[in-house]
């Protein structure tokens, strides 16, 4: 067994290589989460609507996104956005657009289940009180759907955070890229990958513990 040398891991490394990548990973996760939930909720409402011309485009979009590997979606957007807009787009910005569009499909499936978990009588009660469709959804159904699905939405966000490492494919500078770059520059790739593993594990495991606690609290209230 060859000796591991972790001496290159110091504060300077963190500020020079990792911080920038970490900030981008978190940024990407948060923007894709908020955007994904907003668009995902719209997609879910479209899929549950009775108008076929609202229903089938949403269904097609969600099913297509869900049947293509994320890496291929990242490559597609990186190729297509400059092709369609005529302007080159940086890997980071392209990643943000891609993840928002991709995650919307997954969040929409969660929100669809969430909306369906609200009893039908609630919708009728809303209409009976004279609320419009928009008001019923906004004031009655969606808050409950959101609350019921909160743990699953957050679990999906942890998966999203893990998946942001796939921007490796287009060379965007995320947390993992910070580690691989540092590993290459210090000629210590093995140690860099080990550290990356530990950092990702600590972040994701603590977040998943938080979600579990939240789940337990919500379960009691219900």
């Amino acid at each position: 067994m060859s000796g591991l040398d972790l001496s290159f891991f110091n504060l300077e490394l963190v500020s020079n290589y990792l911080l920038k990548g970490f900030i981008f990973s978190v940024q990407l996760t948060l923007i894709a989460m908020v955007g994904g939930i907003v668009f995902g909720t719209l997609l879910a409402l479209m899929r549950l609507s009775s108008h076929p011309w609202l229903q089938w485009p949403a269904t097609l979009y969600v099913n297509t996104m869900r049947s293509i590997p994320l890496v291929m979606v990242i490559l597609w957007f990186f190729l297509l956005i400059p092709f369609l807009t005529g302007k080159p787009m940086g890997a980071e910005l392209s990643a943000i657009v891609t993840f928002t569009a991709f995650e919307a499909a997954y969040y929409s499936e969660i929100m669809r289940a969430g909306i369906q978990s609200v009893a039908r009588g609630q919708v009728y009660a809303g209409y009976a009180l004279g609320l419009t469709y928009g008001q019923t959804m906004r004031l009655v159904v969606l808050p409950q759907a959101f609350r019921n699905m909160l743990p699953i939405l957050l679990t999906q966000t942890i998966i999203l955070f893990q998946d942001t490492s796939l921007v490796y494919a287009i060379g965007a500078y995320d947390l993992l890229r910070g580690f691989t770059t540092a590993g290459r520059n210090f000629n210590r790739p093995v140690e860099a990958f080990l550290l990356a593993t530990v950092v990702y594990f600590v972040i994701c495991f603590s977040l998943s513990l938080l979600v579990k606690r939240l789940q337990a609290r919500i379960a009691i209230v219900r």
Binding site: P69, L70, V71, M72, L79, L80, Q162, V190, F193, L194
Partner: protein, 235 residues
Amino acid sequence: MNWEWQFFLRDIGDGETTYLDWMISAWGWTLAVAGCAWVVALLFGSIIGTLRTVPNRWLAGAANAWVELFRNIPLLVQIFLWYFVVPTLVPPLQQVPSFIMVVLGLGFFTSARVAEQVRAGIQSLSRGQRNAGLALGLTLPQTYRFVLLPMAFRIVLPPLTSEAMNIIKNSSVAFAVSISELTMFAMQAQEETSRGIEVYLAVTSLYIVSTMVVNRALAYVETRVRVPGYVGGGK
């Protein structure tokens, strides 16, 4: 825009292989990685998932730790770990081809997800089934073998189907360690031919076809093994 598909019949520079040949061999690699990793995932996932439900606290704890470990590290990082780190720490593994290391990485990652489904399946059975088995004088392993697992596996077939489709999609990360599979082909062919849209369309279709075939095949298995009166049995 104008389509240009003829480049698929051009050779890639070695005088004998065309891009089409290359893509088909890449499809083979994708299926090989996904298929072998699925065997690993199903084997380990079933064992770990079962162990999570046994009364022995140590066994169940170790199995839970396995799941948490493999679930909380991004797949790409795990692939790098198996490809770069493990062979350095365990020198005898340096002789093992990278294909095997990627299969192990993808397999263990998916095993955690399979284990989660298997555990949920076993726990969804009523407590009485286990007690009835034990009351009949079956040992605990026999109760699992003859009473619990046959029902649990039928219940978890639909989620396992989507895991099997996921493993085909997830095999795309093997590009990062230079396995010549579909995504790797897509990236390189795009660069060499500048016909990115055609290349990506072809590769994306192959992924969709592969996952659809798996989906239909497992749906067929599902109808063949269903038990009347239980989930899916009445369809």
